[in-house]
């Protein structure tokens, strides 16, 4: 198992190099002079030239990229933010807990609501509950998060004044963004649980369990659920990865100072090292989450565990 994990981590290296290269290329060809962005519109031409020299912005493309990778790999240094002058890593690590909390809450909400709804829907296929749940799930899936966010603000913050409309420092403030972000995940988890459950409860071993005289609740709750959860776990993992990195819109609506907003601001202000580092960080997080999901998988499904060995 350990060998497998190591191999997976090794396999990450080319992917991350690729990510770094992609982002580097993209930013290289993005209009806008980072020197100007860093030094401000009042800066003199000399200052700008000096900055470009110092930061190596005049070097050929590949040299710049090589330098970056060299520093990142051998010195663990992914640079300093142009705008705040702080180390990029520090900036990300300040922002990351917000995003992590936001995503985790959203994921928890999605799981708490999605899995039971999916199970009930599957057991009572074609019932009114099923129909309504599925329609709601579809609506949740179709609801643009920025619109849902606005509606939530309108009702819960503006009309009812129950919850604050922005910020992310108190528990109350976390509710609206988490719910807005969770909406899509709830729908996806519900749908996935339902379809996976539907497939599983038709499986032969469920019939075997029933033939033993087992109670329906245990047949569903033990025999079916664990098997049905396997694809749901993958989905949750993927979703969590998406949430972690894709909470950009939610963060911008609710002014959550997370990684997503950090990234958007960095892109807007040509903060190259920040964008680089941020995307790399997100890619790493994403990959680690995927790895964890695969391990969790192996935990749930002994067949996969056997393959990993």
């Amino acid at each position: 198992m350990l060998k497998y994990i190591l191999r997976r981590i090794l396999m990450l290296i080319p992917v991350l190099l690729g990510v770094a290269f992609c982002v580097f290329t993209l930013l290289y060809f993005t209009p806008g002079d980072p020197a100007r962005m860093v030094l401000g519109d009042l800066a003199t031409d000399e200052a700008i030239k000096e900055f470009r020299d110092k930061e190596g912005l005049n070097d050929p493309f590949l040299v710049q990229f090589g330098n970056y990778v060299y520093k990142a790999v051998f010195k663990g240094d992914i640079g300093r933010s142009y705008s705040s002058k702080r180390p990029v890593m520090q900036e990300i690590l300040t922002a990351f807990p917000y995003t992590l909390k936001l995503s985790a809450f959203a994921m928890i909400i999605a799981i708490i609501i999605g899995i039971p709804c999916g199970i009930i829907s599957a057991i009572k296929q074609y019932s009114w509950f099923d129909t309504i749940t599925m329609i709601f799930a579809m609506i949740g899936l179709s609801m643009p998060v920025f619109w849902l966010g606005l509606l939530l603000i309108l009702f819960f913050a503006v009309r009812l004044r129950w919850l604050p409309s922005s910020g992310f420092s108190t528990f109350k403030a976390m509710i609206l963004p988490s719910v807005a972000l969770a909406a899509q995940s709830i729908s996806m988890v519900t749908r996935m649980t339902r379809s996976s459950m539907l497939e599983v409860i038709r499986a032969d071993y469920i019939r075997t369990a029933r033939a033993k005289g087992q109670k329906e609740s245990i047949v569903i709750g033990v025999h079916a659920l664990r098997n049905a959860l396997i694809p749901v776990v993958t989905l949750c993992g993927l979703q969590f990865g998406q949430l972690l990195s894709g909470a950009i819109l939610t963060e911008s609506i609710f002014a959550v100072p997370g990684v997503g907003r950090l990234m958007v601001n960095a892109i807007m202000s040509r903060d190259y090292p920040m964008v680089q580092g941020g995307v790399l960080f997100i890619a790493i997080t994403f990959s680690i989450v995927n790895l964890l999901v695969d391990l969790l998988y192996a935990y749930i499904d002994p067949r996969i565990k056997a393959e990993l060995k």
Partner: protein, 295 residues
Amino acid sequence: MTTTDEKIIPELVRKRRSPLFEVFLRLSKSPLAMFGLAIIFILVFCAVFAEAISPYSPIKQDLMHMFETPSSAHWLGTDEFGRDILSRLIYGARVSLQVGFIAVGIALITGGMLGAVSGYYSGWLDNCIMRVMDVLLSIPQTLLAIAIVAALGPSLMNLMIAVGISAVPTYARIVRGSVLSIRSMEFIEAARAAGSSDLRIILKHIIPNSMAPIIVQSTLGVASAILNAAGLSFIGLGIQPPNPEWGAMLSGGRQYIRDFPHMTLYPGLAIMLTILALNFLGDGLRDALDPKLKR
């Protein structure tokens, strides 16, 4: 050889019906899918005949009638420039559908080709392509799209390119997966046994059989492309004003949400209905296309 059994069971007589029609027949059994299809038809109609059906020009300002709530003159009210929201929504359908379909087209053609090549000629080429896709997949779609728009500059075309490119890996994976699964099926072997060439096998056997998941994914993909584009517009990286785009309208109405919620309500509703319709249709298509492969 006798054909006795044919005399015994005579019910199997059938006329040649186009497979497309069959799919439609099955689709028509799902009310939700039909609802989706109807909405899409209305949207396409709006998009095509926007000039004819919208009551006002989408960019004509009327500073005397700003922020009007819905009335008989302006069914959905007016915005901060006194522009008719209904007309802007109708024209917005054109933009959104364009973005959705062209972006998916870009993603489908690029991703589909990469995926097909990757799946059919497995080996180092497959490995190469899939590692590149892994790289793209590990950058979140929205972020990738933002970065691409930022690099190319905001415009309708660039928006479509950005949304399209960011969806390429998804299609590459789906196409590859479906090519792989079909390639391992016995009828491909049977076709080879019959002497079919690679090209024929790809064109006649693999592509038609991998269409179902791709069609479904494309339908859902149009939905997510529209959503993605609206998201980009919402943060100011989309279509340039005064062109009507739903995400931008939503973003524009955002600061008036307390006094004039109609400005955010209708564009939001339009986006949601469109996505909902496409999702319903996609789900319906999935069911309608499926039985051919599994039964």
